[in-house]
């Protein structure tokens, strides 16, 4: 279930945008389209504070109010891009008498979509887990979502209807990515011997049956062995395949301290420790010991709540 991986839920939702018209908030003379008004609303949303200059502005992304959200992006997809005519083999086309002038169909979407992608801290990939995050999100940025979703299909009037709409519009995230493991995670390899042994036994039975059938004058029992081996091979290979695929579908384990408070604290500590290292290089052991004690007391590495880096600030 790729929606959930490494302790994070990866949400992808495509919400259809309305195709009727809407009053233009900036003009009494003109009306406009929902997709235009939606883009206007999206561009007015503050982004995360990604540089010292934006940090001084101090107006942060509304997603920073939710302490479970690592990353969120909203964008509008107008249509799918037409990739051009399909490749045609001229020899095949000639044999099948296909008219080279006939046009390929050009498919289009019925309406634009608002694409919502986000990844957030989660314990599992269950629908209820998604719903709790969506309810959290609604509680901290209801006005923004009301404005955005007023241009989309679907009735949203409270946290419950918001969570239901997003869940209905969800598509599976097929390639989630996160990278918080500093080394290799403690993953167990596949029990190759246990998976291979039944296959090997079936193969031996099958081969014995085959040899007996071929070389014994009255191979009645050997034929039975051959059939048994054949069925056994299919069944054991299928079982092994199923177990391997089931193991592959298991979510990657969460890295230690890979939730948002943990990541923010790590970034905070990285900056503070770099400064500490610069300021105290060359000191004798006693002074260094005392200074590091003070560092631990001041920056409390185990306390992810504070002091820490504010969310929505990109600073390393």
């Amino acid at each position: 279930m790729p929606n959930f991986d490494g302790g994070h839920y990866f949400l992808t939702a495509l919400i259809p945008v309305r195709t009727d018209y809407v009053a233009d908030g900036s003009s009494t003379a003109m009306i406009t389209s929902h997709v235009h008004a939606l883009r206007q609303a999206l561009i007015a949303l503050p982004t995360a504070l990604q540089s010292p200059a934006t940090e001084e502005i101090g107006v942060n992304s509304p997603f920073a109010r939710c302490r479970r959200t690592h990353f969120a992006r909203l964008t509008v997809m107008d249509d799918v891009a037409y990739n051009g005519r399909l490749q045609r083999d001229p020899i095949v086309a000639t044999i099948t008498k296909r008219d080279p002038h006939s046009a390929d169909p050009v498919d289009v979407l019925p309406h634009p979509y608002l694409i919502v992608v986000a990844d957030f801290d989660a314990t599992d990939g269950e629908p209820a887990t998604l719903a709790t995050w969506l309810r959290d999100l609604w509680s901290v940025m209801e006005p923004e979502w009301r404005e955005i979703l007023s241009h989309c299909h679907g009735e949203v009037h409270d946290a419950g209807s918001f969570a239901r709409l997003i869940a209905r519009c969800q598509v599976e995230t097929t390639m989630p990515f996160n990278d918080y493991w500093p080394g290799a995670p403690p993953l167990k390899g596949l029990p190759l011997a246990r998976l291979a042994a039944p296959v090997a036994i079936s193969a031996v039975v099958f081969l014995a049956g085959l040899l007996g059938t071929l070389f014994v004058r009255h191979p009645g029992g050997w034929k039975l062995l051959l059939a048994l081996g054949f069925i056994g091979l299919i069944v054991t290979i299928w079982l092994a395949y199923r177990e391997i695929m089931a193991k592959g579908a298991l979510p990657f384990p969460a890295a230690p301290r890979a939730d948002l408070p943990g990541v923010l604290k790590s970034l905070y500590l990285q900056q503070q420790f770099t400064r500490f290292a610069i300021d105290h290089q060359g000191q004798d052991d006693a002074a260094l010991h005392a200074a590091f004690g003070e560092f631990l007391r001041t920056h409390r590495p185990e306390d992810t709540a504070s002091p820490t880096q504010p969310p929505g600030v990109v600073r390393v």
Binding site: Q271, T274, R275, I278, G282, V316
Partner: protein, 541 residues
């Protein structure tokens, strides 16, 4: 068949730096063209004195009698245009639309790409003549570079003043059609004066030295490309300066990396502005006026060297030159840290050089000069000798980005393949003099011209990704310790050999050493293209 460049078609200063050819003085003028016909007239009048890449005989090796040869000029003259300059000269739109977008933008519009809006916004930090303006009469259109020989007293030859007056008179005759733009900081606002640093010779005269204001020997390594030097010299010249092949031998870079209209390192002739004669044998360069905060540099080095000595336990007289070498990647006389990692190693090289000079041992001197560039980073995988973040390792990464370098298996090596399309030719001269008792408000720095076929792929990439960022060097956001922007927490990490058990040293709170003071992106046309521009016959059809 190796490429034979048409030297008479290529402007001088591309194949070799004038500073090395005995032109230690410079004067750069900027023109604005208000009336296209006048602009063409002025350029056409100057065209016969434009210096090309044709080699002139040296005094020691005169050509045989009867040979037609190029006399060495007293002042080398070269002409280049901004995009707006080409537009002002009425180069057809169909030609202009083939020029690359970064050139169309110009350097001011790319200030955030090349990180020039720090520590000051370019509108305040740059010399007035370079600042972006909406007034068409103040825009930079043409750059005329004059590189002059020097008199024994350290002043430029008189011809420099004559040519300046001639250009000025040509502009005056157009009655406002072409003007010399004013607004350079320095003694004369009408031009940028430049000079190599000078030292007193034993006979009392002045002699130029290849130093820059921070005290380093400059302009040691420069790319070597096909056709750049005579074939008989190529085998020597490519070592350490061309590209490193997978088999660890050196070869010249493709000419198309530095001259338009020739095959480049991707084995194609890149799309250019048409007609091809307009682009072929021309090139682009970024003009960079870089101010150097010499006082800040000296103060920081002195303070930090004391800390460095205390932390590492090395004698103070070794810590300062070593700290500077770690920052630059070379000792102040140019000896690379990779081959002489310790103070004692450096001293050994210096005494070899001193002995060779005393004995007039040319072979040893040549070998020592070659050793300045003949090295790779293969034997320094963690930067214990030459730090990853040093200026040298950032600006010319040689083989260090080879993903298979760490395998130690020569069969898997890729050489400098990830570096070959990021090379620039560095041309230019220092300006001003860092006099004792001076301040950082004084005019002192260097005008660098970064010459390359693609400003975007070569100059801007090196500037943005390698000078102003550290990801390719596992150095996070750290910028170049010399030319990078240094925010409040800027630092430079000097790695220690893990086997030594010693901690690294981190030079913290780097002040801003270098500040951008202006410049632009220029197209330096071939002599053919210059003729077409000056006579208004560029025909893209």
């Amino acid at each position: 068949m190796t490429i034979q460049l048409e030297l008479a078609d290529i402007q001088g200063n591309i194949l070799s730096a004038y500073g090395r050819l005995g032109f230690p003085k410079g004067r750069f003028l900027l023109l604005n063209v208000a009336r296209p016909a006048d602009g063409r007239k002025v350029i056409n009048m100057l065209r016969p004195i434009v210096t090309t890449a044709v080699r002139w005989p040296s005094a020691r090796n005169p050509y045989p009698p009867g040979t037609i040869y190029q006399q060495r000029p007293e002042v080398a003259v070269n002409i280049a245009f901004t995009f707006r300059g080409l537009l002002a000269m009425e180069v057809p739109i169909r030609t202009l639309r083939g020029l690359p977008e970064e050139f169309l933008d110009g350097m001011a519009a790319r200030a955030d790409v090349v990180c020039d809006n720090y520590p000051h916004n370019i509108r305040d930090g740059w010399d007035p003549v370079w600042r972006p303006t909406i007034d068409p009469a103040l825009r930079v259109h043409v750059l005329i570079t004059l590189n002059a020989q020097m008199k024994p007293d350290g002043t430029p030859v008189d011809r420099l003043e004559e040519i300046t007056r001639e250009i000025s008179a040509l502009c005056d005759q157009t009655d406002g059609g072409v003007t010399i733009l004013k607004g350079h900081r320095g003694k004369n606002p009408a031009w940028q004066d430049l000079s190599a640093l000078l030292q007193d010779a034993p006979d009392g005269s002045k002699m130029p030295v290849p130093l820059e204001h921070f005290g380093f020997v400059d302009a040691i390594g420069d790319p070597v490309f096909e056709g750049q030097v005579p074939a008989e010299k190529m085998a020597q010249e490519v070592i350490g300066q061309g590209k490193l092949l997978a088999d660890q031998t050196w070869a010249p870079l493709a000419a198309g990396e530095f001259l338009l209209g020739h095959p480049d390192e991707s084995q194609e002739i890149a799309g250019e502005a048409m007609p091809i004669d307009f682009s072929r044998n021309g090139t682009f360069f970024a003009y960079r006026k870089l101010h150097q905060n010499v006082v800040a540099w000296r103060d920081y080095i002195a303070t930090t060297a004391r800390q460095y000595a205390a932390v590492t336990g090395m004698p103070a007289h070794e810590a300062e030159p070593l700290l500077k070498a770690k920052i630059a990647g070379r000792w102040e006389d140019g000896v690379p840290l990779v081959s002489a990692p310790s103070f004692a190693d450096w001293q050994a090289v210096r005494s070899r050089r001193a002995a060779a000079i005393a004995a007039d041992d040319k072979a040893t001197l040549a070998a020592l000069d070659r050793a300045l560039v003949d090295f790779t980073f293969r034997n320094d995988p963690v930067g214990a000798r030459c730090p990853f973040g040093s200026h040298l390792r950032r600006s010319n990464t040689r083989d260090m980005l080879d993903p298979h370098l760490g395998t130690g298996d020569p069969k898997q090596f890729n050489g400098s393949v990830l570096n070959n399309r990021r090379r620039i030719l560095r041309r230019g001269l220092p300006y001003g003099a860092a006099v004792p008792g001076g301040t950082d408000a004084d005019e002192q720095g260097i005008v660098m011209m970064a010459v390359c076929a693609s400003l975007f792929r070569q100059f801007e990439f090196v500037q943005q990704q390698w000078m102003q960022y550290g990801l390719d060097f596992n150095a996070g956001n750290d910028t170049c310790p010399i030319v990078g922007n240094h925010g409040p927490d800027a630092k430079f990490v000097i790695a220690a050999d893990p086997a030594s058990g010693k901690p690294p040293f981190i030079a913290g709170r780097l002040p801003q050493f270098v500040e951008s003071r202006g410049g632009d992106y220029f197209f330096m046309p071939s002599m053919t293209a210059l003729r077409m521009i000056a006579t208004g016959v560029v025909d893209p059809t």
